[in-house]
């Protein structure tokens, strides 16, 4: 995980840079799947309907917890490798950030890592549903 001091923008830029290293889809896919492997295991308590994100082609769970330092901790998992990789990218960029920053974040980096087929929100592949869920958690924490 990136240091808690780096901002969402900084982390997103880092992700974009990493993906730019690959000039073919195979490299990018491998890297994405690799990200998923690094995602911490989701506690069983969260593997329930309440945390499931609808509208994805695979099963996806996303949960959030407030940290003592006032930031928001994200947890996620999926039964598909690619979706798990995408969830890992989102967690990597948004984890341990202030809820307000998450709620107002612009996740344009998703368009810049050369994987449009999974990432364009109008394509309704479920990524937008994940993002919306994460922002929803952030908004409700920000409101507390």
């Amino acid at each position: 995980m990136a240091a808690a001091t780096s901002t969402i923008e900084e982390r997103a830029a880092e992700v974009v840079e990493e993906f730019e290293l690959f000039d073919d889809w195979m490299g990018r896919y491998e890297h994405l799947i690799e990200q998923g492997k690094g995602l911490p295991a989701l506690p069983d308590d969260y593997r329930t309907e309440a945390y499931q994100v609808r509208g994805c082609q695979s099963q996806v769970w996303v949960a959030a917890e407030p940290t003592d330092s006032g930031t928001i901790r994200f947890l996620a998992d999926s039964d598909a490798l690619i979706t798990r990789g995408l969830a890992a990218l989102l967690v990597r960029v948004l984890d341990d950030q202030p809820p307000e920053a998450v709620a107002s974040s612009n996740l344009a980096f998703l368009d810049q890592i050369g994987m449009n087929e999974h990432l364009s929100p109008t394509r309704k592949n479920g990524l937008d549903a994940m993002v919306r869920r994460m922002k929803l958690y952030a908004e409700s924490l920000a409101a507390v």
Binding site: E117, S120, T122, R123, N125
Partner: protein
């Protein structure tokens, strides 16, 4: 219609240029150039719309929403990109308030049908007007029959204007729904819907607007109007048949139960329990009219190239010229002479049946509609069998109006 920030025009309105973009306008009828004045029934389509539909089928066709393969993703993107287009066109607050339907009739049935599932109770009143199209009457009659609600009617005066005072008096504690036509297809009357919506809202009553005839002829902004539902058909605004839009405020769409069941409108299905998808998808069951929706987007893009004020000015000229010349013929009865009118001229020739006149002027290459225009209650009120209706669009010309008037003159001579 209410003023809204004008869309940004990207070209000057030039009717000859416009005509060259509508292939059908070069057709000949009975060896004469077609004069198409049946635009209120359906409009013709510009090349860009035809080309967009063709391109879709030639290189992008796939089913939407459920596929991960490239073609399906591209089709989904093309289809979903029309939602923001329609959102901007109607001035909706959010793209999720845009439900794609078969057309206006379907859109009204979605609302009336959904409202029959728990919203309407016995004795509730549904308020319509005397100038509604059958598509904004029969769905409510079916809903009334199913729920025990009753339909009430706002009267229309001799010139074809709503009696707004009577409307206000009819709004009452039992009124649960108001459904009004924005622009009458038979009379051309533009109704004062902004005021009527405010009146209904002051008593907590939702309003559906039938915008079938409005969207091709002036700016519409649903947020500004504050209507709860707005319905339109693509085919009446230069787009393909078989598609249209139901705009609904998110709070209404969220609250209403789904209308049809099937693929795409669900979130999870089991025989024990089915949960529904989010709006707008909750109201879009089954494979949609993908090519139609994409074609509708192209039609709106086309229309948006113009400053709608230019179009209105042009159509106003056509109506003024037609009205003047027809009246000058004598022996003509105009039906619908409201102060606020769009591009429709309905009339009768003394002593002649509209069917006979329409048949004969077709022989002169002129296409107008004759009949009740799906507004039988209005015909009953005026005690007429129907009218002849010339309805204009942006591609009609003053010359065409002259051909209409000439054809009418000759038809009368022939039939008398």
């Amino acid at each position: 219609m209410q003023p809204v920030a004008p869309r940004l025009a990207t070209r000057t309105f030039d009717v000859e240029q416009v005509r060259s973009e509508f292939p059908v306008l070069s057709r000949r009828i009975h060896d004469l150039p077609l004069v198409y004045l049946d635009n209120a029934a359906t409009t013709q389509k510009p090349l860009t719309v035809l080309e967009r539909i063709d391109a879709y089928y030639r290189s992008e066709n796939a089913n939407v929403h459920r596929g991960v393969h490239t073609l399906s993703q591209e089709a989904t993107e093309a289809y979903e990109s029309v939602r923001p287009t329609m959102q901007a066109f109607l001035g909706a607050g959010s793209a999720q308030e845009i439900v794609f339907t078969k057309g206006t009739t379907d859109a009204i049935n979605v609302v009336a049908g959904s409202m029959s599932r728990g919203y309407f109770r016995k004795g509730d009143e549904i308020l319509l007007t005397g100038m509604e199209h059958h598509s904004n009457i029969v769905p409510w009659q079916l809903a009334a029959e199913a729920t025990g609600a009753v339909v009430k009617v706002v009267p229309v005066d001799d010139r074809g204007q709503l009696d707004v005072e009577a409307y206000q008096a009819l709004l009452g504690p039992k009124t649960r729904m108001v459904a009004i036509v924005h622009v009458s297809n038979t009379l051309g009357t533009i109704n004062p819907i902004r005021q009527m919506i405010a009146d209904a809202h002051s008593m907590g009553i939702p309003v559906l607007v039938d915008g079938a005839q409005a969207v091709a002829h002036g700016p519409v902004n649903v947020q500004d109007l504050d209507c709860d539902f707005y319905c339109m058909s693509a085919h009446k605004v230069f787009g393909p048949t078989g598609t249209g839009v139901l705009y609904g405020k998110a709070e209404w769409l969220n609250q209403l139960p789904p209308y049809q069941g099937g693929g795409d409108m669900i979130s999870a299905v089991s025989f024990e329990r089915t949960t529904y998808n989010e709006i707008p998808h909750k109201f879009e069951a089954g494979t949609p009219n993908i090519a139609g929706v994409i074609g509708m987007g192209a039609a709106i893009d086309y229309l948006s190239e113009f400053d709608i004020a230019d179009v209105q000015r042009h159509e106003h000229q056509l109506v003024a010229h037609a009205t003047g010349e027809l009246e000058a013929l004598g022996g003509i009865r105009l039906i619908g002479t409201a102060d606020q009118k769009t591009a429709v001229v309905s009339f009768l020739l003394d002593g002649l049946h509209p069917y006979d006149v329409a048949s004969v002027i077709d022989r002169f290459g002129v296409a107008v509609r004759s009949g009740h225009h799906c507004t039988q209650p209005l015909m009953d009120q005026y005690r007429i069998p129907g009218t002849l209706r010339a309805s204009f669009a942006l591609y009609n010309t003053l010359d065409e109006v002259d051909r209409l008037v000439d054809a009418v003159r000759r038809a009368r001579k022939f039939l008398s």
